[in-house]
Subunit: 347 residues, 2 copies
């Protein structure tokens, strides 16, 4: 049995989804994966701070949030430790960094991850801010401190796009193309059914896919962050969002989409990475008319997909969910379960 | 650096594809994967037997086959060892079992794999015979002897369908559906273009997809073997080919296919596994009319694909090549590289 003692930094949707999975599958994780997963600390700017070295019951956490919206009703040994102290001084051996995404400064997540790695804790994050802006540096910091940095949830939530790609590295990845943003793919699908751009956006907002300010999705910033993560993780690049040629879907009309359909094509917002001469990499996010015979063309609604073009295996495509509280929570679990087995009794 | 000393049992297309990859990528395997891969023995009923404890140059092997079709021109310490002796007594630590597939008795591959596992060698095979007929027993034998049994190449060649599924086990796999035979998918695609069944079969034979006797493909036996492998590996089942309801594509006419197309559907030969009440599993291979919105419906030509339906992640689909000498050779390489790191210096 391996014992994981987790500190959860942030307790929004993804953290709650993860805890819900733990609650439902604790027994299976013990028997099938020999994993004893304990939550020893949780901190959130709005909900409070808990540190209880013996572990906090997932059901108690979820129940408190449902009833009071915060941790005030939960008993714990320490309720006044700040996030940095929990990361540095608690008995957690894995830090789950789940604070809000900031694609400009990556803070405060960046400082949390740095502290965790520097003090010898493994880190798992679903946060695109630090991973898109500082992955090469953070990876180095993890290696220097002999710990791991799990980032599966940053690209296609729990659909294991990064794990698949790590396997395919030995086949020689020459190009990556992906539908990496569910909101825009949903809108483009609905526009094919005749909705205008504004109608499709309103519907996406009503379904909770798009935020009130949809800029991050429709202008391509979210997909750009994922392209950068893929480049730096899989193509040994060191690029940042400014290196990615970016065009959103705001200029696309229902007429454009229907004209494309009549020509046997579907508009998709495609993130592309392509190896070029002299080790250079071309990176872009832009609407493209994909021929319906391409595996990405058949991907509809909020589903995501990625095609790895390889030297030995040709094209390999993975299609699956790209967002959701349970789905992203599951990504954290897969990162946890694939950690190298440092010791049988205690990672 | 990890040192793998391989004995290749069989030297047909897949073995040659694998050796070709080694020849081209030896340097990359050393630097990126810290893998020093040596071929110490090769046996083939028609080409000869070689055992050279210091390793045989891949280029020399491929060159001899190209020029003479056998090993007679190659110098090796021992050229008279039979296959069982090589498996038992050579210095190989990994046996690549690549003899011809026999879906009735699994021999001679079965006895080779048993000897290898019993004498403490890791085994990697692309052979559907022993894996479809005896996987649970062989897996147990591997565990008893603390070695690994790699079978990635048996389902979708180097497209890592089994590795993906192993990751998704923790998401709760409830159903598996796949296009697991490239020959029949090619024929169905060509029949959509108007070819008759016989014209499509002839074309598949001319392209090398179908054998002179196409029964194994068109009657669904090949797909059944893969369904059995998936059931026993991923659903903790213990079924055999007779437990799979089977119907091939021989009764499907071009008219059927075109009628389906007009209704927005495509005929596919689908292998299905579904968990039912009381731990039972329903297993079938049969032609199905897939709605064009299903990810499997858009998979054309000889391409394979598999959809895992899971409790936590919904549907996840993997699309890629399902055959080929390099592709299946690559599957052997991925099995090799993912072996647990028993020792840093020598697996």
């Amino acid at each position: 049995m391996r014992t994981y003692r987790l500190a959860l930094i942030g307790f929004g949707n993804v953290a709650q989804g993860f805890v819900q999975i733990l609650q439902q599958r604790a027994q299976q994780l013990r028997t099938q994966h020999q994993a004893d997963i304990q939550i020893v600390a949780v901190t959130s700017p709005s909900k409070g701070s808990l540190y209880h070295p013996q572990g906090i019951d997932p059901a108690v956490l979820l129940n408190a949030i449902e009833i009071t919206g915060n941790f005030s009703a939960i008993t714990a040994d320490y309720t006044d430790w700040d996030t940095q102290r929990i990361i540095r001084e608690s008995n957690a051996n894995v830090i789950l960094e789940l604070s809000p995404t900031n694609l400009k400064t990556a803070q405060p997540a960046l400082s949390y991850i740095e502290t965790a790695l520097q003090t010898g804790k493994h880190v798992i994050t679903a946060n695109k801010g630090p991973t898109a802006l500082y992955y090469p540096q953070l990876k180095q910091l993890a290696q220097d401190n002999q710990v791991t940095l799990g980032i599966e949830g940053t690209v296609m939530s729990g659909t294991p796009s990064l794990m698949l790609a790590q396997t395919l590295r030995s086949a020689g990845i020459t190009r990556i193309q992906g539908i990496l943003n569910g909101t825009t793919n949903y809108m483009l699908t609905r526009m094919e059914a005749g909705l205008s751009y504004n109608e499709a956006l309103t519907e996406a907002q009503e379904r909770g896919y798009a935020e009130t300010d949809p800029t991050g999705d429709v202008e391509g910033h979210d997909a750009v962050a994922k392209v950068v993560i893929l480049a730096n993780l899989l193509m040994d690049a060191s690029i940042n969002p400014n290196d990615v040629q970016r065009e959103g879907i705001t200029q696309i009309t229902t007429h454009d989409i229907q004209t494309a359909q009549q020509a046997g094509k579907r508009y998709k917002l495609i993130g592309t990475l392509e190896r070029q001469a002299k080790g250079r990499i071309r990176a872009s996010v832009q609407p493209e008319q994909m021929d319906i015979t391409h595996p990405l063309a058949s991907v509809s609604d909020a589903t995501n997909a990625i095609t790895y073009s390889t030297q030995l295996m040709g094209d390999i495509t993975l299609v699956g969910s790209g967002a959701g509280r349970i789905e992203t929570g599951y990504a954290l679990l897969t990162d946890l379960l694939k950690m190298p087995d440092y010791s049988k009794s205690d990672i």
